[in-house]
Subunit: 319 residues, 2 copies
Amino acid sequence: MHDPHTPALAIHGGAGTIPKSALDDKTLAAHHAGLRAALTAGWCLLAAGAPALDAVTAAVMALEDDPLFNAARGAVFTADGRLEMDAAIMDGKARRAGAVAGICGPKNPILAARAVMENSPAVLLAGTGAEAFARSQNLVFMPETYFQTERRRASLSLELNRRLAGAPDTRTDADRHGTVGAVARDAAGNLAAATSTGGMTAKLPGRIGDTPIFGAGTYADNATCAVSCTGTGEVFVRFTAASEIAARLRHAGQSLAQAAPAVIAELLTHGGDGGLIAIAADGPPVLTFNSTGMYRGYVTSDGILHTAIHREDFTTQIS
Amino acid sequence: MHDPHTPALAIHGGAGTIPKSALDDKTLAAHHAGLRAALTAGWCLLAAGAPALDAVTAAVMALEDDPLFNAARGAVFTADGRLEMDAAIMDGKARRAGAVAGICGPKNPILAARAVMENSPAVLLAGTGAEAFARSQNLVFMPETYFQTERRRASLSLELNRRLAGAPDTRTDADRHGTVGAVARDAAGNLAAATSTGGMTAKLPGRIGDTPIFGAGTYADNATCAVSCTGTGEVFVRFTAASEIAARLRHAGQSLAQAAPAVIAELLTHGGDGGLIAIAADGPPVLTFNSTGMYRGYVTSDGILHTAIHREDFTTQIS
């Protein structure tokens, strides 16, 4: 007899973490609280029997609403001082998928991605076309100022000045990039993944990273696993990070616990720093990264919320 | 002893072929001539020892310039009567990649994709940001009228009227979509793939299909294969068509001749009609499709140009 599927949820708030030495107690506590709020939003649904798709949507919405993380409110700026957000969602049951790229308007880009999946013939819509579609779906829109934060504007300013001066890039991961994401397994055994990001600080206008590329930054298939990535997106795209993990499960007989860290280690050899969260049909979620840290958390059937930022032990709290 | 690598080139002009019954002799001959021109453009380079990357670029440029095919000149229209082109190129040697999406301006979108790969930190640029980057690269731009053709405008009109009338979709593949692409292996054993498209007739503005999604419509890795796809792009994205073929070569011990047709057959069970061309480190190119036809051609070391449209035998001509 096979055990019934046990629900589980994992989240990340990006591999672009503030260095441990620069993280004061208050900021540290705020990040843990933000991660717990996202876990709670998703877990409430999963524990009540809701689909994995709803859990990852709720968890990512919570992270999008929190200005500490680089997605929606708190997104990083492009080189020309604008905001261009990408988001993607995938349903492992039927491998349905939806994504948006280069948008600014919908309060929660992940809802725009979900609307693409559920209510359009497309899997990826970009730019003004994507924004027009989101409006047609009656999603809540916010003015550009809602998404802007002083911290991200300062990061842009620093980076543009550095480029003008031709100085070497000594930025921390936190100044360069970030992403939020969630993966979940529900009681019916369905997997889902969702990812949302503002991209990289001072990115080229129009640049699309790995987030909305299915098989790179976002992926879900009940037969293998659900994956959400964060890091230097270009390398994750070139090496099809997420679908490579799924391929090792499907064709090479590897476990998720073997495949996910191995792929993340390989990406680093190609200059791809970052991490990912993943979940398979059975077993606990896997959270792995090759960077100095990754804002992350998970919760399984005992309901205990686990959160961590660097390579320390997980902080736990009962949900 | 292993034989030295033998150069080979395959191209497609899209799985959206005109039905055999509607293809008069003149139009038939024009399509074969267009395919031969593209093969010749690529083969001249390969036979002279040029890299696979240059061969696929030249072959795709020839198809982009030919108004018979749905890429650049002759691209299909969006639902709001505009042109939004996608193109991608990938170098199997170092898995470098570059793509553009939703652009109208560069005479050859594949050159914009190649510039993204070679001269930007990004792998994918979309919309006005991509066009601005292409201008910065001094690429040749053409006015929108250069790309427009009466045939594609008539297809848009028919489709919009059909939607207004709520009539069933009885369009042929040729009226719906199309793509051009090339894969090559050079004498050094390097693989490359390139794809370019106008997308689907009457597509949602902002819609991005599988063409610029590495691992879906375009892929190259010397260790496995180079792939260029054509068809209902959304299904190719959801099932990561190209990287699934590569995964079967890498992890399941399959040959390209086994994996490529198997994946194309599986895509059809999910509503994905279309086809692909692919080439591995050894052996002839594989050209496979589940649709009624696919404009296609290939040339190997004997220099004979093979072209076909439906399921007939290849027409041959000495290069």
